[in-house]
Symmetry: C2
Subunit: 406 residues, 2 copies
C-alpha cells in the first residue's frame, strides 16, 4: 500500500483556509471535513451504511475506551477497528490521552475548552482513577473493572496499530485550563518527548500506511503554543493535531488556534491539521478560515440523543432543544427545506419531542441523521466556497443564518 | 375511500391455512403476515423506511400507551398515528385492554400465554393501578402521572378513531390464566357485550374505512372459546382476534387456537383472523396451519434489544443469546447466508456481543433488522408454500431447521 499523503488543492487568498485531499490507507477524505465520533466502535444509533450515505469519509474511534473493552488483542484478531465495526473507509483514532487525563483531573475535564468535551468518557470514568503520571507513562485504574493498567506512548501506539486506524494520534498529556504556566510548560515538553517515542515505536513496529499526528499543546500561553507548534512541525509526524486547553471561551479558543496555525503556516513542510473536540457551527466556520483541515466533536451526535437539533439560527447557537415543552404537539418540521432523511420524511418537532420524552431511540436516530447531515452539507459548501474563492461571503452568509445547500 | 375487505386467494387442502389480501384504508397486506410492534409510535431503533425496506406492510400501535402519552387529541391533530409516526402503510391498533388489565392483574400478566407478553407495558406500569372494573368500563390510575382515567369500550373506539388505524380492536377484558371458570365465563360475556357497544359507537362515529376486529375470549375452556368464537363470528365485526389466556404452555395454546379457528371455519362469513401477542417461530408455523392470518409479537424486536438473534435452530427455540460470554470475540456471522442488512454487511456475533455489553444501540438496531428480516422472509415462504400447495413440506423443513429463503 502506498504512503498516506495530504494534497492541498486550493488556498484562499484572504484567509488561511485551504481545500485538500487526505489520501489514506482506506480511502480519501476531502478537506476541510468534519469527522463524526464512533467512540466505542459505532456512531451511536447509526449503521456504517448510514454514515456513508450522509457523505462522511472518516470517523473517529477512541483508543482509551477500545483499549479497555473489547481490548486491542480482540480488535487485532478482527483485522482492525474498521473490520470489527464494518466501516470500510478511513478511521482516525485519538491517543487515549484526553480520556485518560480527564479521569485523573476529575471534573476539571469539564473546563477544557470551557465545556464538557467528552460525552462518552465523562459519564463512565467515575470508578476509574489515575494512580501516577511519570516520564515513563501513566498508571491508572480501569473504570470497567478496577484493574490497574499502564499506558505509555508506546502502549498508545501499539493499541492504535492494533486498531489499524488510518490516522493515529501521538500520546499526549492533556492539561486542563486551571493549572499553572509552569505545569503547562513542563507538560508540553514531556508531550514533545512522548511524540518522539511514539514516532520511534511506530517507525519500528507500526503499519507503514498509518499516518501519525503529533499534538500541539501549550495551553493558553501564546509563546508555549507557538513553540509547541514549531517543535511538532519540525518532527517526523505526518500531521498535526491541536489539543489541550483552548481557553475559557470561544474568543480565547480562536486566539489559541490562530497562534498555532499561523506558526504552522511558517513551517517548511505542509501537513494536515486536526482540531480536537471542536465542532460547533461557529467553531467550524472560524476554524476553516484559520486553516484547520479536519474537526471531530461529540456535539452533533450527543445533542441528538438529548433531543437537540441543529438549525440555521445563529442567535440560538444553531440549536433548538426539541425536548422542551414548547414543542409538544408541534407540527413544524425539524428544519424547513432540509433534505436529511428525518426532515424529508416529514418528521415534526412534535414527534421528536414526544420520542425524546418517551425514550424512543428512533427519535435519537432521526436527530443524529439530521445533525450529521447538516454538518456534512455545511462542510461541503465551505469546500466549494474555498475552491470558488468565495469563502468570506459564504462564511458571512452562514454566520447570518443561511442554510447549507442540499 | 372504499370499505376495507379481506380476500382469500388459496386454501390449503390438508390444513386450515390460507393466503389472502387485506385491502385496507392505507394499503394492502399479504397474509399470513407478521406485524411488528410500533408500541409507542416507533418500531424501536428503526425508521419507517427501514420497516418498509424489510417488506412489512403493517405495524401495530398500542392504544393504551398512546392514549396516556401523547394522547388522542394530539395524534388526532396530526391526522392520525400514521401521519404522526410517518408510516404510510396500514396500522392495526390494539384496544388497550391487554395493557390495562395487565396493570390490574399485576404480575399475573406474566402468566398469560405462559410468559411475559408485553415488554413495553410490563416495565412501565409500576405506578399505575386499576381502581375498579364494572359493566360500564374500567377506572384506573395512569402510570405516567398518577392521574385517574376511565376507559369504556366507547373510549377505546374513540381513541382508535383518533389514531385512524386501519384495523381497530374491540375493547375486551383480558382475563389471566389463574382465574376461575366462572370468572372467565362472566368476563367473556361482558367482552361480548362490550363488542356490541364498540360496534355501535363505531357505526355512529368511527371512520368508515376502519375495520373493527372482535376479540375471542374464553380462557382455556373449550366450550367457552367455541361459544365466544361463534358469538364474535355472528357479530357485525370485520375481523376476529384471538386474545386472553391461551394456557400454561404451547400445547394448550395450540389447542385453544385450534378450537377457535375450527369454530370460525364453521361460521357463515369468512373474516381475517389475528392471533394477539404470539410470534415465536414454532407458533407462527403452527398458527399459519391453523388458519391464522396475522400475528403480532414483541419477541423479535424485544429480544434484539437484549442481544438475542433468531437463527434456524429449533433445538434452541430458534434463538441464540449473543450477550452470553461465549460469543466474546467470535468471528462467526450472526447467521450464515442471511441476506439481512446486518449479516450482509458482515457483522459478527462478537461485534454484537460487544455492542450489547457496551450498550451501543447500533447493536440493538442491527439485531432488530436481522430478527425482523428473518420473520418476514419466513412468512413470505409460508405464503408461497400455501399458494403452491406445499405448506406441509415447507413447515416440516422449517421445523427441522431450514433457513428462510432470501
Amino acid at each position: 500500500m502506498s504512503e498516506p499523503i495530504f494534497e492541498i488543492r486550493t488556498r484562499a487568498s484572504d484567509s488561511q483556509a485551504r481545500t485538500g485531499t487526505l489520501k489514506l490507507a482506506n480511502g480519501e477524505v476531502q478537506t476541510p471535513a468534519f469527522v463524526p465520533l464512533a467512540t466505542r466502535g459505532s456512531v451511536k444509533t447509526l449503521e456504517p451504511r448510514d454514515v456513508e450515505a450522509l457523505g462522511y469519509e472518516m470517523v473517529l474511534g477512541n483508543t482509551f475506551h477500545l483499549y479497555l473493552t473489547p481490548g486491542q488483542q480482540q480488535i487485532r484478531e478482527y483485522g482492525g477497528l474498521g473490520e470489527f465495526m464494518r466501516w470500510k473507509r478511513p478511521i482516525i483514532t485519538d491517543s487515549g490521552g484526553f480520556q485518560l487525563f480527564s479521569m485523573g483531573h476529575g471534573s476539571v475535564a469539564d473546563e477544557i475548552k470551557g465545556r464538557n468535551r467528552s460525552g462518552a468518557g465523562a459519564g463512565n470514568t467515575t470508578n476509574g482513577a489515575i494512580l501516577s503520571i511519570s516520564e515513563e507513562g501513566v498508571r491508572f485504574r480501569s473504570y470497567v473493572d478496577g484493574a490497574e493498567h499502564f499506558m505509555a506512548p508506546e502502549t498508545s501506539m501499539e493499541v492504535q496499530a492494533a486498531l489499524r486506524s488510518d490516522i493515529a494520534l501521538a500520546f499526549d498529556e492533556c492539561t486542563p485550563f486551571h493549572v499553572t504556566r509552569d505545569y503547562t510548560a513542563h507538560s508540553t515538553e514531556r508531550t514533545h518527548r512522548w511524540l518522539e517515542r511514539c514516532l520511534t515505536w511506530h517507525e519500528q513496529n507500526g503499519p507503514s500506511d498509518q499516518m501519525i499526528y503529533g499534538i500541539v499543546q501549550g495551553g493558553v500561553e501564546q509563546d508555549l503554543r507557538v513553540a509547541s507548534a514549531e517543535t511538532i512541525a519540525a518532527s517526523r509526524c505526518g500531521g498535526i493535531a491541536i489539543g489541550g486547553s483552548l481557553g475559557r471561551d470561544k474568543a480565547q479558543m480562536n486566539a489559541v488556534v490562530g497562534w498555532t496555525t499561523r506558526a504552522l503556516d511558517r513551517s517548511a513542510v505542509e501537513r494536515p491539521r486536526h482540531l480536537l473536540g471542536v465542532g460547533d457551527i461557529d467553531d467550524l466556520l472560524i476554524g476553516v478560515g484559520q486553516g484547520i483541515d479536519t474537526f471531530d466533536c461529540a456535539m452533533p451526535t450527543r445533542l441528538a440523543r438529548h433531543g437537540v437539533a441543529i438549525v440555521p439560527d445563529p442567535e440560538s447557537r444553531w440549536r433548538v432543544d426539541l425536548a422542551k415543552g414548547r414543542w409538544r404537539g408541534s407540527q413544524e418540521p425539524i428544519m424547513e427545506g432540509c433534505p436529511c432523511p428525518a426532515c424529508s420524511t416529514g418528521f415534526t418537532r412534535g414527534y421528536i419531542h414526544y420520542a425524546a420524552k418517551a425514550g424512543e431511540t428512533t427519535g435519537s436516530r432521526l436527530l443524529t441523521l439530521h445533525n450529521l447531515s447538516y454538518i456534512q452539507r455545511l462542510m461541503a459548501d465551505l469546500r466549494d466556497a474555498i475552491d470558488a474563492g468565495t469563502l468570506t461571503q459564504t462564511t458571512a452568509a452562514f454566520s447570518a443564518g443561511a442554510s447549507p445547500s442540499s
